[in-house]
Chain length 386, copies 2
DNA sequence: CTGTGGGCAACGTGCCGACAA
DNA sequence: TTGTCGGCACGTTGCCCACAG
């Protein structure tokens, strides 16, 4: 359903927001119990400001590495300049920390990726001033209104609405030899207004009312770095801790921003997911696991890895934290970008005995084949979490 | 002198920075003693985020409304997107708060406005794609290299360097009937790259080595508002207080950003200026004063006002603070934009007895004449501060 | 099926002096 | 003195198809 969330007078379309955020991003439902990690919040700020939390940050002895909270409200937003999506969450720390031990029912967090949508990474031709946008055939047929093919050439005007409720007009035409779908008039205005470059991606959605929506996902995330001319990174890191600490001590609400495409990991996790990961699974060094990542085509893919160590990421400031408490190694050599430390709830342990240590030769041969087409599905059927 | 301040590998030209910051902005010298006001810092963040400091912000009982600090370092910066100038200051709270009572020698803070410079607000023609930039005659003759007027038409290529050390090339030509100075080729590239609009201002400087520098001052400051998708404004306000409080208690350095064109008032003041204002002058309700403001032509102008009240701006959270402790009224009816609360060190009290209450009729007649050309100079000669 | 490039027309950009405020 | 305009040339934009990967 195309649910929308009120933000002042504006509503950001939830489907569109999630499409821009990507398939791995899911927000806990309003009213549910969540776990908030100041460490993860700091990591997000560190990425934005390009500065790690410094040493000389004060201790907040009463601030635990995770806070059980009620998610009082979530509002969806998009940066006016870059269209980057982010979510504002209002959290209320739970008064009774004993509740933590209570095992909560598993909340079904539906992944809100829309069905009638497509996403295309822009080519040099798409972004050049020389021409328009080449629509992949399947995409056009699935998402755009059907053309009247009796016309010569078949063409129509499309209107698509972006995250800021701004309408963009495009001429959609089916022509060329061989025939193809193109966006011509209006496309270059859109490209230059959004400052899109080859490598960035656009996505189109047809919602349940037939309204077209469009969003963008920039490739070069480094460009999005904030000026940081407002507050020093030190003060930001301190602000995160002080705000959380104060909220925890007074059981009062506090507000955070979650930037799904900037943040290395989610730092507001459904309580049930956290507890299941922490209390239900025994993780040991040497254990094999899978973990989901987003591919360049904005689909999900699982990578295999092995737990190589268990221990605190920051033993001094954050002892006994589950945040990134696992050191891991990845099977594939292209693991340069992947985190060397992950949290329990991010991984899917392979508990099925005969899969714990697959023969390396098999893995290597599969890697040599290139894309692991069948592998994931095989494991999928074999592995069923309780 | 064209002093520069090192920032990593980059140096921002100090003269250019000050020209962009405006005539009223002066930074205390490195190593000097200053007074830092968390309240003022919060105000700057409030402007940036368009959100005031909320009620439910924790108390920092040990944090006083002003901190005596040593200014350990100042670095000049400019926003990469907007070219907005800002300064990073590293402050170290003074260990012994008793030092405060010690009267310091008056530090001469030279106003670093360059002499060989001009600033022009862009017209519709200047920013249109239809043409170039019309240089005011005086400006061209003062700042640009002299043209060879024997050529027909006289023309030359100018190279001007911006705050990011990027060079911009312009064709400077003297033509038209009547003759005038113009920038043609290269101008529109500059306009679109900096996204300048009519109402924004550009400024050119010739430094002592003959090098041309150029900067911009945007009119629409609302546009510069930061996305704030990084940290909630609450956390920012808390971060300011927590950082200052921690630094004060541990006598350790902390870092702040000062945005001269965003901040309503300076919140890092030379200690001598503060003490002189607080201890040397007796301010009373009804007292007349003058205060400097920047005009649209980026020159200084003094406005007259009367003290209408003295008291805490925020009696609950910041009792006994001198920050904006004066309520004031302004003589001129165009006072809509001017603060209704100012701090002691911002004003110049008129202590000369016969000027305390000038006949209103005289004032009115002067106002009716329009611009107060001579008034300020008359007062200048009459009033000499100790 | 779709990315790139050549061809070509239409439009916008940008340089010029003529006015007039 | 300088802001805006009409005139005009030239360069870019943008629509078309032909190829080829």
């Amino acid at each position: 359903a195309s649910s929308t969330i009120v933000q002042g007078e504006k509503r950001i379309n939830s489907e569109l927001w999630h499409a821009c955020a990507g398939p791995l991003v899911s927000l806990p439902p309003v009213g549910s119990q969540v776990v908030y990690f100041p460490q993860g919040h700091s990591e997000q700020v560190a990425v934005s400001t390009q500065k790690e939390a410094d040493i000389h940050i004060p201790n907040y002895p009463n601030l635990r590495p995770h806070l059980i909270c009620t998610l009082e409200n979530v509002t969806l937003h998009a940066d006016l300049e870059t269209d980057d999506v982010y979510a504002q969450m209002v959290l209320i720390p739970t008064q009774d920390p004993e509740k933590e031990t209570m095992l909560l029912p598993d909340v079904v967090v539906q992944n809100k990726q829309p069905t009638e949508y497509f996403c295309k990474t822009l080519t040099a031709s798409d972004t050049s001033t020389h021409g328009g946008f080449s629509i992949p055939r399947r995409a056009a047929e699935k998402v755009f209104p059907t053309l009247d093919y009796t016309q010569q050439p078949p063409a129509q005007e499309l209107v698509a609405r972006d995250l800021h409720d701004q309408d963009w007009h495009f001429r959609h035409i089916y022509r060329g030899q061989p025939r193809r779908h193109l966006l011509t008039t209006g496309w270059s205005i859109f490209i230059s207004a959004k400052r899109l470059q080859a490598g960035d991606a656009v996505l189109f959605i047809r919602d349940d009312k037939g309204q077209l929506l469009l969003g963008i996902r920039r490739a070069n995330r480094l460009q999005t770095i904030m000026p940081s001319s407002v507050l020093s990174s030190d003060s930001m890191h301190i602000g995160i801790l002080a705000a959380a600490s104060h909220a925890a001590q007074t059981s009062s609400r506090f507000t955070i921003f979650y930037n799904p495409r900037q943040s290395p990991s989610e730092f507001v996790i459904p309580s049930a997911k956290y507890q299941k990961a922490v209390y239900s699974t025994q993780i040991t060094v040497g254990m094999r696991f899978r973990m989901m990542f987003e591919t360049e085509e904005s689909t999900v893919r699982r990578y295999m890895g092995t737990v190589t160590g268990i221990g605190d990421l920051d033993p001094v400031r954050w002892p006994n934290s589950h945040w990134r408490s696992l050191k891991v190694g990845w099977d594939e050599s292209t693991a340069g970008e992947r985190q060397r430390r992950v949290s329990l709830w991010e991984i899917e342990p392979l508990t099925t005995p005969f899969l714990i240590c697959p023969p390396p030769i098999v893995l290597r041969s599969k890697r040599a084949r290139g894309i692991h087409a069948g592998e994931d599905e095989d494991l999928e059927t074999l592995m069923k979490k309780s």
